[in-house]
């Protein structure tokens, strides 16, 4: 059994391309070309060179000694927080911008929630000299002023999404509408493993460099390629997809997916899609999705802006449904306390998204000889205001 995408764009029953006919030519062009172009040696060479010299890859696999001692197991952290722009997001935008250029596109659009993907997109557009428009919910623009400023410095235009709840899902709707209105010259860089096929697969492939490096680095450090556990937080699920990718079909490696419980799974203020979602269609993909009984998409909540998406990517929906991955939800409170704990114990201030993943250490028991890899997907600079408010720093 494979947990990867099949040739029709599905992970089990999830995925596909549920898109209006107006988007069909754009998505079809991408579907027909993405594997071909990304397999070309010139593409690979450019992608690898930029990941190395611009992003700063490979990112270290760091043995967290104090943490390991405390939890009596071997804990390694994959240091995506050291990537240029502060998180794993740029692995994907580098890949997609090269692809966009190969397809002859001149205008780039993107959606963003907290602004991390927006910054990563604005960055690669500056790098390549391409026009960049980032859609961002009006509410998020107010909440994430520093990232809005970064995008502007990088030359991007930030357009407020004024419809619906004025957050990430609405920014995504607006980006899709822009693409419908500009089908010829425009390329849409989606930031997570969501959207119509081939996006979930394409983004997972660009992020798969994370697990590729984990294998190489573990071999060097431990004499074995495969850890016992890989752990990552899941909003849409791009850092998780990259962390799991090369271990998906090796069931000796246990997969843990950490979702944001917000104020608590049953509180009505949560983003724990696996617990609260039902099968539905959002942004062109059939997946698990938080919605009313009438099929209206509901607004999720998490203190971490990067995890409050009402769905998960179809790969993750399938990992949940099949039981291949264990899903755990972590509250705001647990995640915030880990933000502080990791800072004090290891000298690493994590993004609040990433802090959720660490809280698994309190929820599960590991054996002393287990090798546990946690993806530290981003650094906490962007969250400083939230930390300040929360801890009255």
């Amino acid at each position: 059994m494979s947990y990867n995408v099949n040739e029709k764009g599905y992970y089990g029953e999830f995925g596909g391309a549920y898109i209006p006919e107006m988007l069909y030519p754009n998505v079809e062009e991408l579907r027909q070309n993405y594997l071909k172009i990304t397999a070309e040696p010139e593409f690979q060479a450019e992608f690898d060179a930029l990941l190395k010299d611009y992003v700063g890859r490979p990112t270290p696999l760091y043995f967290a000694e104090r943490l390991s001692e405390k939890y009596n197991t071997k804990i390694y952290l994959k240091r995506e927080d050291l990537c240029h722009t502060g998180a794993h997001k740029i692995n994907n935008t580098i890949g997609q911008i090269i692809l966009a250029k190969r397809l002859g596109k001149t205008r780039i659009i993107a959606e963003t929630g907290a602004g991390q993907h927006g910054v990563a997109t604005a960055t690669v557009c500056a790098l390549m000299g391409l026009e960049c428009i980032v859609y961002m919910g009006e509410v998020d623009i107010k909440r994430q002023a520093p990232n809005v400023a970064r995008m502007k410095m990088l030359g991007a235009e930030v357009r407020p999404a004024l419809s619906g709840s004025k957050t990430l899902k609405d920014a995504t709707n607006e980006a899709i509408r822009d693409w419908i209105n500009n089908p010829v010259d425009t390329y849409y860089i989606i930031g997570s493993v969501v959207g119509p096929h081939p996006y979930p697969d394409m983004v997972a492939r660009f992020q798969s460099v994370i697990s590729k490096e984990i294998k190489e680095q573990l071999l060097e450090k431990e004499g074995r390629e495969n850890p016992d556990y890989v752990i990552a937080c899941v909003g849409g699920g791009s850092n998780a997809a990259g962390t799991y990718y090369h271990f998906l079909d090796n069931e000796d490696v246990k997969i843990i997916a950490v979702e944001a419980a917000g104020m608590g799974v049953d509180s009505g203020e949560s983003a724990a899609t696996s617990a609260l979602g039902k099968v539905g269609v959002i942004h062109g993909s059939k997946t698990l999705l938080m919605q009313t009984t009438d099929g209206q998409i509901t607004e999720p909540y998490s203190i971490s802006a990067g995890l409050d998406y009402p769905g998960v990517g179809p790969m993750h929906a399938n990992l949940f449904k099949t039981g291949r991955a264990q899903f755990i939800s972590i509250t705001d409170e647990q995640a915030m306390s880990w933000g502080l704990k990791l800072s004090k114990m290891e000298g690493l201030i994590p993004a609040i998204e990433s802090a959720h993943a660490f809280a698994v250490l309190d929820e599960m028991k590991f054996k002393p000889e287990d090798i546990v890899v946690i993806n530290l997907s981003g650094r906490g600079d962007k969250d400083l205001n939230t930390y300040i408010d929360y801890f009255k720093l």
Partner: protein
């Protein structure tokens, strides 16, 4: 014979109107349908509101959002329409996004439509290949016509495929856009209308998106069997309420 097929056999050009069910007020649905038929509209698309309508522009999305606030749901719409066929004889189509239908249950949804006397569905985010593989049989069992969209970017090959799985009409999107974003047609649209008109398709074509007055209606129907007005009608309801529908329709023809 299905009312859609029958209507399209008539010699005249078809005027079809879209509105969002539950807008401006929750219980306006039946009154709007009555007034549209009484004033000579040939076909009606009843919009089932959705929280995230990807293919719609701000006018229709705002009306959907308001309708949802007003309390519109799939079940409420079905309840409002249960006696509609006692008084209304023109074709009625439900236009909505796939997710609310999926949650209602596709078979249940189709069954309910058949009971009410709905003639067809337009589901912009249900791709034609998924429909053909998974849902065509169910739709046909309940006598529902599924209407597909084509755009200026749709290839001839795909248009022929869509024609082959359609039985009713083909919804020609006038330009690459979401609803309500164009006004008037240029030479690009005319060339596209002409190209489609000469393809000898089995299904008649009805043009939508960008039709907002008599002039655009007349131009579109030079090349196609009919035309659909959506955003302009919603805008009119926003400004005038539901009491002056006659004036809107008479201004078109």
């Amino acid at each position: 014979m299905n009312r859609i097929n029958q209507k399209l056999k008539e010699g005249k050009k078809i005027l079809s109107i879209y509105f969002s069910a539950g807008y401006p007020n929750l219980n306006d649905t039946v009154q709007i349908i009555h007034d549209l038929e009484k004033n000579g509209v040939d076909m009606i698309e009843i919009g089932l509101p959705f929280s995230d309508p990807l293919a719609d522009g701000p006018t229709i999305q705002a009306s959907s959002t308001q309708a949802l606030h007003n309390g519109m749901t799939t079940q409420v719409l079905f309840d409002q329409l249960k006696d509609i066929r006692k008084t209304v004889s023109i074709p009625l189509i439900i236009m909505g996004y796939f997710n609310p239908m999926l949650q209602y249950g596709i078979e249940n949804f189709c069954k309910k439509c058949a009971e009410i006397g709905i003639d067809g569905l337009i589901i912009p985010d249900l791709p034609v290949d998924v429909y053909a593989e998974e849902f065509k049989e169910t739709f046909e069992k309940y006598g529902l016509k599924n209407i597909f969209l084509i755009t200026p970017q749709t290839t001839d090959e795909r248009i022929h495929f869509i024609d082959s799985v359609s039985d009713g009409f083909i919804y020609m999107v006038s330009s690459a856009s979401v609803t309500g974003s164009q006004s008037g047609f240029g030479s690009i649209q005319e060339d596209y209308f002409k190209r489609i008109a000469t393809m000898n398709l089995n299904n008649p074509q009805v043009i939508g998106f960008g039709i907002n007055n008599k002039e655009t209606f007349n131009l579109a129907t030079q090349f196609a069997k009919g035309a659909i007005i959506g955003s302009a009608f919603i805008q009119y309801l926003t400004e005038n309420g539901i009491g002056k529908i006659e004036k809107f329709v008479k201004a078109i023809r």
